[in-house]
Amino acid sequence: MKDVLLRVDNLSVQFKTLDGVLTAIEGNSFTVRRGEVFCLVGESGCGKSLTSLAIMGLIEKPGIVKADDIMLDGRNICWLRESEMRKIRGKELSMIFQEPLTSLNPLFTIGNQMDEVFRLHQKAGKARAREKSIEMLRFVGIADPESIYMRYPSALSGGMRQRVMIAMALSCRPKLLIADEPTTALDVTIQKQILKLMKDLQRELDTAIILITHDLSVVAEMADRVAVMYAGRIIEQADVAALFQKPLHPYTEGLINSTIKLGDTRERLPTIAGTVPPLSAMPKGCRFHPRCRYATEICRAAEPPIACCEGGRTVRCFRYVDGEAREGGTKG
């Protein structure tokens, strides 16, 4: 049983807008264990990216971050000053993004940007930083690191750039890497390479990864544990095998069913009726109830609490409030 590396308690993010204060995510708690791959999965707008930005301390006005606690390796990081947070970012806590082209500065060489990490966090001199950068580039499987070191981001392909991003993020052997849709913009053959790379590196460096994605097949491929988000709430958490074998929340069930598998012979794809409501018009009660075929009166009235089920799974659904599945009435 691995020990806990990151603990997030009751995280919420709100925004002040012209239409009033909107709550983007609320009441989210989860833990990430040392060396594991934790997937945060959900569709667009569910708040998964916001969650990671909140952990990194990168949310600025008009966003307001509130949490009972965010603990990294026993240390509370949610109330740190920006200057102290900066010491952690890149060193113990690292992040890579979806679009490597916009994450890398087009005006500086790869080498220049990679050296920056070493010079900042390890106080390395020029020569030493270069040495370490090239070593890191080789580490992520780049065949000709010396020549890539000299080039500019625009000269590299998407897959290469993402490798560079991973190299930069892992330079200081962080304990936790947050990867926000790292392969969404890549071709599927390149995605396979990058995912394999991440898995290999994770095992070798014992780095925990929070992998954010909307693609359930990436979750199936990579995750140890999964949290499913909908409309700003984590609605289910489980080990990956348990999640796919027996999804508890109707939304998870719907997502898994609507995903097309290779060799799919179903005549019609099952769908989840309706669409995600906008932040300014969230329904009362359970946020999913308008689209849920098991919805009952209580679902319309109140938000379900987090229920604990067997195997340490949690789910936010009234069907499981007693710890086991209850039959809900069919939706009108």
Partner: protein
């Protein structure tokens, strides 16, 4: 119930090249051969899926067929008529028969126009119908795609991504086309919405007798909706066959690599799903190798592969591939280029 198949579209050796660089006098100019000799036929009522990764030319091919781009070589024959020989003016009436559904639900609709004006546009351009008639048609289209006609007065930003895509489909259906080219129609949508749109496309095909060319980069999606599939790589079709045959009898090494790159759909399959991983990147389109374009990444490559480009041939019944050593009918040895 399919009628006796008749060829709706025939594409013959289609090519398009884009000039890149070069000085003022036109020297040192290089060309990107985005589509480099594509041929296939399409029967009425079927769905042809075109799948490939970035740079393979599938979107360019779609644009060529719908005549948004002018080919540099080759012919397109639609319902027996050679449309590549027509002037833009002569071609205008044919536009009613072929339409396109675009990828990006955010930029495929003019943000300053209401839904009803967007769907009405095809009528305004191609017909002389009265306002009342157009309005009736527009309402009918909305119904067909499952949108309430009370939404007609809304602007694009008031719709969700899936709804916008429905409007795009309604626009494409307005003139009663025979052929619809879907250029990555669900790639930008959430998974649960993708399923809705794919179901809609299937229903429409059945109800209206449409023929589809479905362009996408995701094999599972293409495989789900297509009858036949063409796999493209760097401007050429490398394999073309029926849906089932592509998986049951994969012939081209690239297709094999593509299939093994698809992540598992269930964690229990992780151990069993080990296929060859395609290493490396695409070669630069400006410096194409002399022989097979896939040679540099191919595990099975032999000396001839780097010297001579393979031609497209029918290796199994109805199954075309361009490879010197297709995976199923040749002896292969693991050699590198």
């Amino acid at each position: 119930m399919k009628e006796a198949s008749r060829t709706l579209l025939a594409v013959e050796d289609l090519k398009i090249s884009f000039p890149v660089g070069g000085d003022m006098l036109g020297r040192h100019r290089q060309y990107v051969h985005a589509v480099d000799g594509v041929s296939f036929t399409l029967d009425a009522g079927e769905t042809l899926g075109i799948v490939g990764e970035s740079g393979c030319g599938k979107s360019t091919l779609g644009n060529l067929i719908i005549r948004l781009l002018k080919e540099t070589h080759g012919r397109i024959v639609f319902e027996g008529r050679e449309i590549t020989a027509l002037t833009p003016k002569e071609f205008k009436p044919y536009r009613r028969d072929m339409q396109m559904v675009f990828q990006d639900p955010f930029s495929s609709l003019n943000p300053r126009k209401r839904a009803r004006d967007i769907i009405a546009e095809p009528y305004r351009v191609q017909t002389k119908l009265s306002r009342r008639e157009i309005r009736a048609n527009v309402e009918h289209m909305m119904e067909l795609v499952g949108l309430d006609s009370s939404y007609l007065n809304r602007y694009p930003h008031e719709f969700s991504g899936g709804q916008r895509q429905r409007i795009g489909i309604a626009r494409a259906l307005a003139l009663n086309p025979k052929l619809i080219i879907c250029d990555e129609p669900v790639s930008a949508l959430d998974v649960s919405i993708q399923a809705q749109i794919l179901n809609l496309l299937k229903d429409l095909q059945q109800d209206l007798g449409l023929t589809y060319i479905f362009i996408a980069h995701g094999l599972p999606t293409v495989q789900y909706i297509s009858d036949r599939i063409a796999v493209m790589y760097m401007g050429k079709i490398v394999e073309l066959t029926s849906n089932t045959d592509l998986f049951a009898h994969t012939l081209h090494p690239y297709t094999e690599g593509l299939l093994s790159a698809i992540p598992v759909s269930d964690p229990s399959l992780r151990e069993s799903h080990t296929g060859p991983i395609l290493e490396g990147d695409l070669p630069s389109p400006l410096h194409l190798p002399a022989g097979c374009r896939f040679c540099s990444r191919c595990k099975y490559a032999q000396p001839i592969c780097s010297r001579q480009e393979p031609q497209m041939r029918e290796v199994l019944p109805g199954h075309f591939v361009s490879c010197h050593f297709p995976l199923e009918t040749a002896e292969k040895t693991d050699a590198s280029c």
